[in-house]
Symmetry: C2
Subunit: 303 residues, 2 copies
């Protein structure tokens, strides 16, 4: 008899990723373009039922439950998707009830950064920390909090919005309704635009060559490659991004006094070019860093 498994589902705007897991080990993974699963909210929900169902059947294992991460506002533990910027039309969708009824399995539906935070805390870079701040860097900037050994959700389930901490009094308007939110400076799109703007202003760089003269092909990975080649614009870009994130993390550290900060997501692949200025900013300026007391520990992950 094989030991029981569970199914994890990451619903993204571009891909739906499914995994069959045993303990903390992933046995099978699958990634399906979200658009191929369903073009309307209803079809996508039906498609999710089918995709999870076929993974369950094909596994020929005893499945103890299904966990789903959604990039939006989820009412927990009810598992109702209240709204979701990347899944147009999803509004007050009782996803947990729907999946559970159709799959005849226990289902848990939560915000994707919350489930990422729980994963890093129980099995990843934040294992064992009683107070943990998780930061995801990508198109948006997300945050998850483990406080006193529990996931902290806040009053309406909205806690952890590190990407919407303002970095200045004035600045660009954000989709959240705020002004000068961190995300408006260090989201993927904004970083690429910053590089393009500087190139237009005539800053010398190897980057145009790396993209064959076509700046639409600029990605965070191209900036990383430029850094490795010693490019000042590439390095200055990550230094600036790291400093901005660090400035916000000073406030987070002084407010929450966490034991550990875990930083992950797409642009965290930039590695030391990004992390050194980020850590240095916090170490130099946070109450903890300036004191003789033990410093917040840092981890990064690139899953």
């Amino acid at each position: 008899m094989t030991s029981p498994c569970a199914v994890g589902v990451d619903v993204g705007g571009t891909f739906v990723k499914l995994g069959l897991v045993q303990g903390h080990r992933i046995l099978t993974q699958r990634a399906l373009p979200t658009a191929s699963i369903g073009s309307t909210p209803r079809k996508l929900q039906e498609g999710l039922v089918k995709a999870v169902g076929s993974l369950v059947r094909e596994s020929r294992r005893r499945i103890t439950g299904v966990g789903v991460g959604i990039p939006g506002w989820v009412q927990y533990p009810e598992g109702v998707v209240r709204s979701c910027a990347n899944l147009p039309g999803w509004k007050d969708v009782p996803l947990r009830a729907l999946l559970s009824r159709r799959l005849h399995l226990p289902v848990s539906v939560d915000n994707d950064v919350n489930v990422m935070t729980l994963a890093e805390w129980t099995a990843g870079a934040g294992r064992g920390a009683r107070n943990l701040v998780c930061v995801t860097l990508g198109t948006g900037v997300g945050g998850g909090l483990i406080l006193d050994g529990r996931l902290y959700r806040g009053w309406n389930g909205f806690a952890g919005e590190i990407g919407h901490i303002p970095v200045a009094e004035a600045g660009p308007r954000c989709s959240c309704g705020g002004i000068a939110c961190l995300e408006r400076y260090v989201g993927n799109r904004e970083i690429l635009q910053r590089v393009r703007d500087q190139l237009k202003q005539g800053v010398a760089s190897v980057i145009p060559e790396l993209v064959g003269g076509d700046l639409r092909r600029l990605t965070p990975e191209v900036i990383d490659r430029a850094c490795e080649l010693g490019d000042p614009l590439g390095r200055q870009t990550w230094r600036w991004v790291g400093t901005q994130i660090g400035l916000v993390l000073i406030g987070v550290v002084n407010l929450l006094n966490p034991e550990r900060i875990v930083v992950g997501g797409g642009i965290s692949k930039a590695g030391r070019w990004l992390f050194e200025p980020m850590r240095k900013t916090v170490r130099r300026r946070a109450v903890r860093g300036a004191s003789r007391f033990e410093e917040t520990r840092w981890s990064t992950w690139m899953r």
Copy 2:
């Protein structure tokens, strides 16, 4: 038979305040100049024992315990005062053990903002909130957090340092080792200096008249009086201070999604001149405020 009482002690750099309390009612209060109690750390500790002891004896009540708030870093629940900016020479003082041994009573020693937060939560402006942010405005800016129905202390007992959240990338250095901390802009001294600077620059105001031409006599209360008289400099000052505090609270709200914010302390007496711009800043720009969801509630106290 009278019901049992407790003694509360607020140890400040200027005054030590003692109160005999029954439930949430204060029966007797006493304020002694800290310097009159003791001039050295050891004498002050001895003096505290005597002051509490005489209050206990004079009360002729059954005393269930003593609670002490200290304006510094306290190791809890051990009640060891690790350091304290306003009580020079206090370093690793086992105050709880000392008081308990000498008074033959259960004693609890904690940071003063933590005990203030617990008081506002159980009996004051934050009663009933599961997630509460307390802010104290005075010489320094302090913060206390009730998260998921418990006082949150963080990893080293340093959580809640709202006054040390930076408001800008560059700015004045702070005693905490940081740069551009909120406290360096909206601490009492900094507010008064700001007004003096503007008067020196020739800004017209009723303030010089209110202090009889002696700007050393400027206090927050004078600015309040100027506001009531319609003085533009007075009103602009609180508007600016409120906006700066509001900007930091946007980040706190977006990170912690609290149910309620309680603001108190000396300069909170400025009332609406200060609170309206503070609230407006948060309401306009925080994720919660910009959304259709229920807004964080606000309370003020002026104890």
